[in-house]
């Protein structure tokens, strides 16, 4: 996207061992992200987006396993770090706002201590007074009162917990924040406010952000670029305005036409069919059984992800032909 990307993921594959088979949850995924940029990743449940989020911090647990690829963040190859270096890297370089922030906080430890232990783990020389000052400042920055520090997680509302998680994410001013469905457990009003807070603090510290979710409306307000995952593969990537104005991949087109619109009255349209099982992917393009534009070649050859316009990449035979990018 820009000259020296902050993050570049090259041909990353992550799979889950199921019996003797391996389900590729992330399959040969490559993307780059510039400093301060916001990238949204959308996809159906099981499309591999959360697996990708965890793999970026190497937080995936067996049976998940990174098969191949490279993750470079600011020049550091994350997959080659040893345990000690990995521990230092986590949170100081990449922070996570986990899916279901409801259970993301330790129920028996006060908020202050859960933030303080993170600082202490990375900044050995910081005094207790400075740590407390920093925590108070962060809580205020995400719109909470400093008294929240003295509370236990169960004493907070869902929105407050999510704000604590945001404050926690920026405690070490990381270069990248990964937000895995940061608002999925919140009601619509609180969602908006929390997303605004998240965008504000992200912009203040100048971190890049990867936001994972399936709420297209939320994405439209929150990110600069959008990437679509289907059955473990990146199938479409575009600047957010372009994506909504003129979606290219048939799956993206269907996603957008399935959004309810306040202007026109029409029955809600879904996408017929189901996402295929990762253990039993159809030959060729994984989307072809559901695709309205399906061609014979789609049933046989997997379409590669190709740059069709500046900043736009699509994995689709039909689109590639229309743009005539293929010989």
């Amino acid at each position: 996207m820009i000259d020296a990307p902050l993050l570049s993921i090259n041909d990353l594959s992550v799979s889950y061992a199921i019996g003797n088979e391996r389900a590729r949850a992330v399959d040969g995924l490559s993307l780059t992200l510039g400093a301060g940029q916001r990238l949204g990743i959308v996809g159906e449940s099981g499309s591999g987006k959360s697996t990708l989020a965890l793999a970026l911090m190497r937080l995936h647990k067996p049976p998940a396993m990174i098969d191949s690829g490279q993750i470079l963040l600011g020049g550091t190859d994350i997959l080659r770090l040893d345990q000690g270096a990995l521990r230092k890297f986590r949170w100081s370089e990449v922070a996570l706002i986990p899916q279901g922030a409801m259970n993301a906080l330790n129920p028996v430890i006060k908020v202050r201590e859960q933030m303080a232990d993170t600082i202490r783990a990375h900044r050995r020389d910081m005094s207790a007074r400075d740590i407390n000052k920093r925590i108070d400042e962060l809580l205020v920055r995400v719109g909470l009162s400093t008294s929240v520090a003295g509370l236990y997680p169960h004493e907070l509302s869902g929105g407050m917990k999510q704000r604590v998680c945001i404050a926690l994410a920026i405690v070490l001013e990381p270069k990248l924040i990964i937000a895995d469905e940061p608002t999925s457990a919140l009601d619509v009003v609180v969602q908006r406010v929390v997303i605004e807070t998240l965008k504000d603090v992200q912009a203040q510290i100048g971190a890049a952000m990867i936001m994972i979710g399936h709420d297209m409306g939320l994405m439209a307000q929150s990110v600069d670029h959008l990437a679509v995952m289907y059955a473990g593969r990146l199938v479409d990537q575009a600047p957010i305005r372009e994506f909504f104005r003129r979606p290219l991949h048939p799956y993206s087109q269907l996603l957008i036409s399935s959004l309810p619109s306040p202007d026109e009255t029409r029955p809600l349209a879904g996408i017929p069919g189901m996402q295929p099982s990762l253990l039993d992917l159809p030959a060729g393009c994984a989307f072809h059984p559901r695709c309205p534009l399906v061609q014979p070649i789609c049933r046989e050859v997997m379409p590669p992800l190709e740059t069709v316009e500046p900043h736009r990449r699509v994995a689709c035979h039909v689109v590639a032909e229309a743009y005539n990018v293929r010989a």
Binding site: L54, L59, R90, S92, A95, N106, P107, V108, D117, A121
Partner: protein
């Protein structure tokens, strides 16, 4: 923690005790046999001449109030129990049941409380390590061994321990709690107590450690799947901090509940350990009381056992909110 919470817990404690007293009163009276007749039979069987046996039975029944209507016996029993007057032991006549129990109680508390707490601590740490992905491989091999241990009853373990460490090599005494006729309160006396208490303690620890380890392992596996553990790892905390502050701290909560109940029931649960080692505790006392149909002593011991369970649950209710902040606001 509010005062009403504390008061409610204490009221619950007394309700449980009253129920126990009632059951305690009824159950022995449903059993066949007559306590005075039982004592007489004992005397007769030893070849002693007892003249006017019927008169003696009648006199004793009158003395212990066994001829009064049930309701009078019951009310008297409740009143006496609540003032800790548990009557007079029949087999150790004229000693009071309370004095018998108070003599035996320190032994049982010393032996069982300490062994149970050791088993709890050891088992919880081992169980946590069994589930912890970062623990060395040989720890995993403990699991089947612990399952076997938890399946063997206390008394069988006691007999095995007794044979392997006392009878065969003669390293430890065969039974009793101290050498000589009374325990002495010197350093040597203390070492002597430890020397005698080691084997019974060991069998209780061995029998308990498997239970605690398996319980902890289960709780730990549950906690390891929680989001806050993923986040703790993501935060770059040291494995030690994650293990103790995040994983074990949370997995211990259900264990502590079991501990209170285990401490209460340990006394009754290890009657046979005390019997196997001739250890002069509550279990041994109960065993002898059962043998001689000593109503009052049986009731007294049973009452004390219920009291210990109710007391430990009360103590748990009062300290649990300190361990789990979620309980505090109710």
């Amino acid at each position: 923690m509010s005062w009403s919470y504390v008061l409610r817990r204490i009221a619950m404690f007394f309700a449980v005790v009253l129920c126990a007293v009632t059951v305690n009163f009824i159950v022995p009276r449903l059993a066949p046999g007559d306590p005075t007749a039982a004592v007489l039979e004992q005397l007769l069987s030893r070849g002693q001449q007892v003249e006017g046996a019927a008169d003696i039975v009648a006199a004793y029944r009158a003395r212990f109030g066994l001829d009064d209507p049930m309701i009078v016996q019951y009310l008297r029993y409740v009143g006496n129990t609540l003032t800790l007057d548990l009557g007079t032991s029949i087999s150790y006549f004229p000693q009071s049941v309370t004095s018998q129990i108070l003599t035996a109680l320190p032994w049982t508390i010393g032996l069982l409380a300490i062994s149970t707490v050791i088993a709890f601590g050891l088992g919880s740490v081992v169980g946590a390590l069994l589930a912890w992905p970062g623990s060395p491989h040989f720890v995993r091999s403990f699991a089947p061994f612990l399952m076997v241990l938890s399946a063997i009853p206390y008394y069988l373990l006691a007999l095995i321990v007794l044979y392997v460490l006392a009878i065969w090599p003669g390293w430890f005494p065969l039974g009793g709690a101290y050498s000589g006729s009374a325990p002495s309160f010197s350093l040597n006396g203390l070492l002597d107590l430890l020397y005698h208490g080691f084997l019974p303690g060991l069998s209780i620890v061995l029998a308990g450690v498997g239970f605690w380890a398996l319980g902890m392992r289960g709780a730990m596996i549950g906690v390891l799947g929680e989001d806050y553990l993923t986040l703790a790892e993501g935060k770059g905390l040291s494995p030690r901090r994650i293990f103790f502050g995040y994983a074990m701290r949370n997995a211990l909560l259900p264990q502590v509940t079991s501990l209170a109940i285990a401490l209460g029931t340990a006394a009754s649960g290890s009657v046979l350990v005390e019997v196997a080692f001739n250890y002069p505790g509550i279990g041994y006392l109960l065993f002898n009381a059962l043998k001689s149909s000593d109503y009052f002593l049986i009731q007294g011991v049973a009452f004390f056992l219920v009291l210990t369970v109710a007391l430990s649950v009360l103590v748990l209710d009062l300290i649990y909110p300190l361990l789990d902040p979620r309980i505090r606001r109710q």
